[in-house]
């Protein structure tokens, strides 16, 4: 892709994590925290269903940024803050705005939003576009 200008809005992407994906991601990342796969335990901590892993949010932030950046783009860094909890089956929206461009390096302010538009995760993703 040609380098975008700062202020460019990326097309939002809508998705939901299934409970099967949460279980598989916990297993493969050796994360035994019960809130991610044991709905009864998650309920005992006040959550309506199993909870999306923080690191899965990090994956979603960066993977959507890389897809937007096009083939051959490379992830340089990602940082995020968990603002609210998301659970299995919940409709979420990835949204991002280009905050700076230096040569092929593009920095995005990226967010994961809940269906009502409130913030679930906020962060930044830096990618280098393919030459």
């Amino acid at each position: 892709m040609t380098a975008p200008a700062a202020g460019t809005e990326c097309p939002p992407r809508r998705y939901a994590h299934t409970s099967v994906q949460l279980f598989r991601f916990s297993a493969v990342s050796w994360n035994a925290h019960r809130i991610h796969y044991d709905a009864a335990f998650a309920a005992s901590e006040g959550f309506p269903d199993t909870v999306v892993q923080s690191t899965l949010h990090g994956e979603t932030l960066s993977r959507n940024a890389l897809e937007w950046a096009g083939p051959g783009a490379r992830l340089e860094s990602v940082a995020w803050r968990n603002v609210a909890t998301a659970v299995a089956g919940e409709q979420l929206i990835w949204a991002a705005t280009v905050s700076s461009v230096e040569g092929a390096r593009v920095r995005l302010d990226a967010r994961i939003l809940k269906a009502d538009g409130s913030e679930c995760v906020t962060g930044t993703v830096e990618v280098t576009l393919a030459g």
């Binding site: 994906q21 493969v28 901590e45 690191t55 992830l75 990602v78 940082a79 968990n82 995760v121």
Partner: protein
């Protein structure tokens, strides 16, 4: 300025333990990840394209790079522990620094991941990890402790592959000040 008073004895303990541990770096052997490890990780992310590409490169004898966040997302490289050694919430002692035996619960506040060089299948990796900060805070929902933990993933020659700063939020589980 006077530091805010910690009203939760459990959180006071967490702070005291954390301050003892700050900047005490401990190495962990991550082993030698394989293409299968990478592909299983990609499968959990429904990334079939990565799997096809990685297996084709392996078949051609070319080096296979890990998915970008493979190291950062893997919570532990230990062999265990067995279930009876896990905390009631499922976390192992390693994932729960400074909180053993205390009536607290913890959640991830966030992470910052810097990717320097992708790990390649068949290369031994070491992680070095330390608590780097411990702060007591008062928020809308009460008091909590913020633990900063840094992990640096290194290749055999000591060069950095990935650096991860994570924030762990520790809350009093007894209801105390919450």
């Amino acid at each position: 300025m006077t530091a805010p008073v910690v009203s939760s004895p459990a959180l006071e303990q967490v702070l005291a333990r954390a301050r003892e541990l700050i900047d005490q770096w401990r190495d962990e052997d991550c082993g030698t990840p394989t293409v299968k490890d990478f592909c299983r990780y990609a499968a959990a992310l429904n990334d079939g394209e990565y799997i096809r590409r990685a297996r084709a490169m392996e078949a051609d004898g070319r080096p296979v790079e890990a998915p970008a966040l493979f190291l950062a997302a893997t919570m532990s490289w230990e062999d265990g522990p067995p279930e009876e050694e896990l905390r009631p919430d499922g976390l192992a002692r390693r994932e729960s620094p400074c909180t053993e035996g205390l009536p607290v619960r913890q959640v991830h506040g966030g992470q910052s991941v810097r990717l320097v060089r992708p790990p390649v299948a068949g290369t031994r990796i070491t992680a070095t990890r330390a608590v780097v900060s411990a702060r007591h805070k008062h928020g809308r929902s009460g008091e909590f402790v913020l633990l900063g933990v840094r992990t640096r993933f290194l290749s055999p020659d000591g060069s950095e592959l990935t650096s991860v700063d994570e924030t762990i939020v520790v809350l009093d589980a007894t209801g105390g000040d919450r």
